[in-house]
């Protein structure tokens, strides 16, 4: 990292209170929307969610079946690579741990890498470790209400300890694989791991 160049006359702001922001982030109180295209609208009766193993074995839930799974309501901080962070967001959804355990019981083998697959051909790649251990959910509620389409509804992935593009909107499945295959933004120069605390924004960042 090069030595920073002082910006004459720049004071800047600091986050209020004692909350910590990852480097280069600022706190926002609204909820920006970022998408690369139009918002897709999948009717709930056509929605399903699939966890597919590296050998093709799959576990699948309809919307109604998915709603019947055990729910959690995590409150987490989220960090977008476009620099905004939002503290204390509350979601409702199913833990990826739960989904993987149920899928395993249906013969879906675990693997080291996960590709989230979404309506709109959007994908993003994660490691199994990124999404297990109580760190990731498939969320269908936000702030006590159903998740709006513009924010990824009916359901989006929620992986708050990674930059938010990993929390793929309109998620429809998780593809487990033995190889790390770059997703949509990762093929366009964004980082495979995307840890906001070490500022892994773009490919080539440490």
């Amino acid at each position: 990292m090069t030595d920073p160049v002082p910006s004459r006359g720049f004071r800047g702001r600091r986050p209020a209170g004692d909350r910590r922001l990852p480097p280069g982030q600022y706190e926002t109180h609204d909820f920006p929307v970022l998408s690369a295209g139009p918002t897709p609208r999948t009717p709930l009766d056509a929605w399903d969610f699939t966890v597919r193993g590296p050998d093709g074995a799959a576990a699948r839930w309809s919307w109604a079946e998915f709603q019947a799974l055990p729910r959690e309501t995590p409150t987490v901080d989220i960090h977008c690579v476009t620099k905004w962070s939002k503290f204390g967001t509350t979601w409702e959804g199913v833990s990826v741990d739960t989904l993987l355990a149920l899928a395993e019981a249906r013969g879906v083998r675990r693997a080291d890498y996960v590709l989230a697959v979404c309506d709109g051909d959007y994908t993003t790649n994660l490691t199994l470790a990124d999404v297990t251990g109580g760190k990731a959910w498939v969320a269908f509620g936000y702030g006590g209400a159903p998740l709006e389409a513009a924010h990824g509804g009916p359901a989006r992935l929620l992986v708050p300890h990674r930059y938010f593009w990993k929390s793929a909107k309109w998620v429809r499945g998780l593809q487990l694989g033995d190889d790390d295959r770059p997703g949509f933004w990762e093929q366009l120069g964004y980082h495979d791991r995307a840890d906001p605390w070490t500022e892994q924004r773009y490919a080539g960042d440490p």
Binding site: P6, F31, P32, G37, T39, D121, W165, K169, A203
Partner: protein, 276 residues
């Protein structure tokens, strides 16, 4: 800018992403570069263009952006992304890059860039960033650009590139601002369109119009897009950039008009939408 793209049939037996994606060779780190502010040009009462020389600039594609980093005396840093307004052709040996920054009243960084910064100052940036919201003449046309407010900036890079390349395919820009005075690059857009039969620039004003204004006076909607846009059958490349509600409305209307969602690329900014 990370976000998401639409369309797909995930209920198909094999997820579309199962097709092996490719990755270019591992990318070199994107270093911070020390740019020099060469000029600062007022564009509107709220926006100005920063003309920068960026030593080592590797070149860019129209539509890409940079990250800018400011550092306070105590080491505190702030970063933001800004679209590049200049075409690749302008970079030259000096690595000239132009950013147009609109001042956000409650902003942390934009008041500095649009106010305090002056010629001779250094400015740290890295880029170019983004490979989705990009167009160049090699992609062909027609080219449909839909902008709200300062969302015109990356689209201007496309139009400037198209002009520098000698015209290129037919292009249309539909540009929404509150008033005509708030429209960026107004004179340049008029000049470009006057000298190019294949380019049309259409303004719509949502708040106030000058006396005698005969153009559109409302937010961008389906009827306006139906009148201005190339027909879906011509399969235009569509780029929509602006505040979230405008982008949501325009992109949805374009899809309803029959445009292929995969050809509608969006970039959204600003304090946005409902809190989910």
């Amino acid at each position: 800018m990370p976000a998401t793209r639409e369309r797909a049939d995930v209920s198909a037996p094999t997820p579309p992403a199962a097709a092996a994606p490719t990755r270019a060779a591992p990318r070199a780190p994107l270093p911070w570069r020390r740019a020099l502010v060469v000029d600062a040009v007022a564009e509107t009462p709220h926006a100005r263009s920063l003309v920068l020389d960026v030593p080592g600039w590797p070149g860019h594609r129209p539509g890409q952006h940079v990250d800018v980093r400011l550092t306070a005396d105590d080491g505190y840093q702030a970063q933001r992304s800004y679209s590049i307004a200049s075409p690749p052709e302008a970079a030259g040996a000096a690595g000239r890059v132009v950013l147009t920054v609109e001042r956000l009243e409650d902003g942390e960084v934009s008041p500095y860039l649009a106010g305090e910064l002056r010629p001779g100052d250094p400015l740290e940036l890295r880029g170019p960033i983004g490979g989705h919201f990009v167009w160049d003449v090699s992609l062909g046309g027609p080219l449909l650009l839909v902008a709200g407010g300062s969302g015109v900036v990356p689209l201007m890079a496309m139009l400037r590139h198209r002009a520098a390349a000698g015209g290129g395919p037919p292009a249309r820009l539909l540009y929404s601002t509150r008033t005509l005075d708030e429209a960026l690059y107004r004179d340049e857009l008029a000049t470009l369109a006057a000298g190019d039969d294949a380019l049309a620039v259409v303004h719509t004003l949502t708040r106030a119009a000058p006396p005698g204004w005969s153009g559109y006076r409302r937010r961008i909607d389906g009827a306006m897009l139906a009148a201005v846009a190339f027909p879906p059958a011509e399969r235009p490349h569509v780029f929509v950039c602006g505040p979230t509600p405008m982008v949501e409305a325009a992109a949805s209307a374009l899809v309803e008009l029959g445009h292929d969602p995969a050809r509608v690329k969006t970039e959204r900014f600003g304090p946005s939408g409902p809190a989910a």
